[in-house]
Symmetry: D2
Subunit: 339 residues, 4 copies
Amino acid sequence: MIVKMKDGTTEASLNAFKQFLKDKGFETKNASSGETIVLGIIGDTKSLDESQLYTFDDVYDVIRIQSPFKQASRTFKKDDTKIAIKDDIVIGGESSVLMAGPCSVENPEQMDTVAKFLSKKGVKILRGGAYKPRTSPYTFQGLGLEGLKLLKETGDRYHMAVVSEIPSVDLLETFEQYVDIIQIGARNMQNFHLLKALGRTDKPILLKRGLASTIEEWLMSAEYIINAGNPNVILMERGIRTFEPYTRNTLDLSAVLAVKERSHLPVLVDPSHASGKWQMIESLSKAALAVGADGLMVEVHHNPQEALSDGAQSLKLDTFETAYDAWVSLSKTLGRPLQ
Amino acid sequence: MIVKMKDGTTEASLNAFKQFLKDKGFETKNASSGETIVLGIIGDTKSLDESQLYTFDDVYDVIRIQSPFKQASRTFKKDDTKIAIKDDIVIGGESSVLMAGPCSVENPEQMDTVAKFLSKKGVKILRGGAYKPRTSPYTFQGLGLEGLKLLKETGDRYHMAVVSEIPSVDLLETFEQYVDIIQIGARNMQNFHLLKALGRTDKPILLKRGLASTIEEWLMSAEYIINAGNPNVILMERGIRTFEPYTRNTLDLSAVLAVKERSHLPVLVDPSHASGKWQMIESLSKAALAVGADGLMVEVHHNPQEALSDGAQSLKLDTFETAYDAWVSLSKTLGRPLQ
Amino acid sequence: MIVKMKDGTTEASLNAFKQFLKDKGFETKNASSGETIVLGIIGDTKSLDESQLYTFDDVYDVIRIQSPFKQASRTFKKDDTKIAIKDDIVIGGESSVLMAGPCSVENPEQMDTVAKFLSKKGVKILRGGAYKPRTSPYTFQGLGLEGLKLLKETGDRYHMAVVSEIPSVDLLETFEQYVDIIQIGARNMQNFHLLKALGRTDKPILLKRGLASTIEEWLMSAEYIINAGNPNVILMERGIRTFEPYTRNTLDLSAVLAVKERSHLPVLVDPSHASGKWQMIESLSKAALAVGADGLMVEVHHNPQEALSDGAQSLKLDTFETAYDAWVSLSKTLGRPLQ
Amino acid sequence: MIVKMKDGTTEASLNAFKQFLKDKGFETKNASSGETIVLGIIGDTKSLDESQLYTFDDVYDVIRIQSPFKQASRTFKKDDTKIAIKDDIVIGGESSVLMAGPCSVENPEQMDTVAKFLSKKGVKILRGGAYKPRTSPYTFQGLGLEGLKLLKETGDRYHMAVVSEIPSVDLLETFEQYVDIIQIGARNMQNFHLLKALGRTDKPILLKRGLASTIEEWLMSAEYIINAGNPNVILMERGIRTFEPYTRNTLDLSAVLAVKERSHLPVLVDPSHASGKWQMIESLSKAALAVGADGLMVEVHHNPQEALSDGAQSLKLDTFETAYDAWVSLSKTLGRPLQ
């Protein structure tokens, strides 16, 4: 940690500050330049609260040098983390992966139609929301437990792994029973109470980036889960909130590269939620593969006009097919074939 | 709801779209101008999902005309909502209110020192966090239940109402037992699972604005709580995330005016979390009072250098005293004396 | 244009508003739903100022239905605009294009080394800044006219077209003399005085997106140039400002798709300025090609450690070579070979 | 400047980096902590380009410790800068100031009506745009030179100083002839070509904050003007671009406090452009005064329904009168009476 003092800081004031640090077990090094007093704080500052340092009137700026996350960092673990799902799926490995399915689980016929189609094409992971976070209380809130059961039944029928979003810690046991991957939605990315609880399960966690979260905060949330005992964290970029109204959010593909540099965790991309427009999904997915994402999650519905949520961002079966074939071909060219 | 069709939409395509709406029970009016085909959809469109309409290839734009929130709206209820806490406090009434106290409940001595001082000055609502949402798992996470108990004991001793943030729905009964006002933190503003549960309590809810939430989304979250049965919602602006790094967040005082226009709910301002700098609290609070906020929440600590969280944004007892006297004086001039 | 009136608008007030519109030559259609009064304004509202309508106390919301840009729109011109540079370059055609070169023109040796290398690889357009917009007055501001001359000489020597950024309208004649493409920098995207002047030249204009500009504003700036007489506008996405500090800006690749849908103009991508990190350029460029951009602009320097500006985002000759070969290969697979 | 090296940096690599710095005249101090190698660079780093340092593969992070602006800083000049306009106006002094007038100069009758009214109330500075930066080329672009002349004539008639926005450097002499204060609009805040030219005039410069500019960038733009020879810079906060659509921009009142801490320059607030809503101007202006701004700029029009630009954000004469009286009263209470 580096501390810059204000101009005109007296020696007495500086000494009081150094003594405060000493009492907490930290030594300081002098890194001053000209009249600007700069201190380097030596020691493990991970648990030192910058906020306390700012309470000193003469502290101008506090700059953290150590990375605030540790177990999620590339420094801690050099090799890419690979996460096995069922027998035949590996996320973060030599192949890229595809998760697909409807936004919401709606009824048996819908699930069967979509899953049958997807599994025939070769998709191995089925998504479907049962507890839907909706901005309005007047819209469809999901089928709840019934939806989870239907998702699992459908997945079992077509030998697909299933993933669904958990809304709250009180449903953890239920999710452990029904899904293969537990998803943390963007709005829950900093629900620390939930993150800590997920350390107790051994199910892989799909952690979406919060829609206004920095990459560092995202990795800190991964750190919460790992630190609580579950190292199987899969990251997912799904667009961030900006001033641009044309797309629902702005897909941040640079984030894939940033995560790859700073962390060993796999990172997928969800172009459906990012753009909110099915017309963009094929192309944005190509871009995600080209930038080096470990895989994709896309929404597919056999009849989006009657979808109970997010129809506008769902591919139909035929548009999915065209897109899928293009992704398979591109992913081979790029050297990481879609699983 | 207004729908603009793409240029070149055929009559057949238009008719198919109209039939789709008719089947759902909606009539349409023609609001076209020149060659641009525009339809007004007639009926209660609150439950109509824009997303479904976008699945039609010829739909260019869908514009919602009806407000998506109802019970939280000024249209639904003209008069300002007043919320009574204990016998002698009214939020949203003729006086403005002040909530003050430390960021975190730390120990009996701290709580007693701060509460004693505040109550002597006339502050009637004591804040203190027991379950702290912290970005890092390596920093102080709050005393939990012990903290809640300590907060209540201290409040009782000095006849102050108490407010604290609830982290998750599984702790609702505990919070009902120990606090007078249940706070929803910024990161939980769209935790819909929790919002729905809070409809079941009759404790007033202090709903902080999410740090990247629009005013409409914030009011939609209030709508969730009201719709679930609890009309006692107090809003709190606490800064939004922008590109500016100087302050932790950017305090959006225009939001106070926007809420006052569109809703009947009271709205307070938290300059401590917005700025992250104790040096700004006195002045930003003055601005909040001047713009018409119903009150303030500020952090106060007798020894910020040893505060276990957010010391940099805490007023000391003496700086609080100076600021408080200025607020009391200004609030009188403005016609809404601090309670 | 659609206008929603406030609840409780009286007939007298509504009539006064309609009369106001009538006096300006606009008819209205009734698109009301239930108690909500909604009017469609009929006629060419492009020159009608929404702001005037809001001066009526009973106007709640004004929604523009007509696109504010016309000549830049896909409706106005269905086919993609192709822009020829010199004899053998077409931007927006069947091939994708590459502009490369140093951030700043520094000296003859630098220009010759870089241009010789690039032209051997097949690059046909050389970039180089002569008038540099720098945040700090204490950093290198560019060689000015001398830089422009050097750029042209170098381009001529290697049969490359050249592009450079114009800082101000008073230098227009100079730029017409020395460059093949005149670049408008992000900070000048809404310098309307300059945009209007550029309508008078027949040089193609490379219009960078402002770093906090919406796609609509960007297209409106293109509209300024076209409307002033110059239809040869090339758009360039270069990252937008968000809260994320890891990259200098956030590259918005969805914008490429949005532009392609709404406009006929070609759109290129500049990953160097977007990310600020040379390590990201190869991958982000692949993503840009995969999403469908008409080409790229990247920074290349033979010795970035001594570059007078933006060394951190410049590829070296060897890293450029590796990246370039990958782009050539990918672009063939995608069906739009790099020219 | 502080540099953090990557983990695993070899001694040879570190030495090469140190040698590079040495060759440029900089010494380094060791501020390492544990295994993390940290260097402090000693010397005047204002002209050292961080970007060059990042070209070294082993450099992980470069952190600037010295403020990038100097002459605009509070360190350089402790006392508040006071700027005299004509004989009887001081900006940044013991009184707060008010600039008021229409968005655009439209015609003699309009200017006379508004100026007569304002001057009678005691307003001493008249604003009016002659060259209007408009998003659309199809809307009113201002009267140009004729507008400037009309502004000056009107100002002279009522003994008011006048302020207007300059669009481009080629009009500098014209502006020197007709206005007392030259305004740089938000979109030109980083038009460095213009900023440098303004160093040559002795007219005070009113520098609006760019709508997506950080406070540091804003102060750097002030630094450009001061460094070029003109120390009379007045800053103006006018809202920043965020994701919130309710107001046109988000007024950032914390910026007033930030500027006061870091700089000696006066800072005013423009609530009209920030909010885009006349209904908010009275209250936001109160907040601006309460937070400590040196003054206000507000838009006033005698007939906003016929205003040629920005009618929605203009106060009418009667609403201005009410607001003005409230500001006069509040400013006295706050100890800085409106001039």
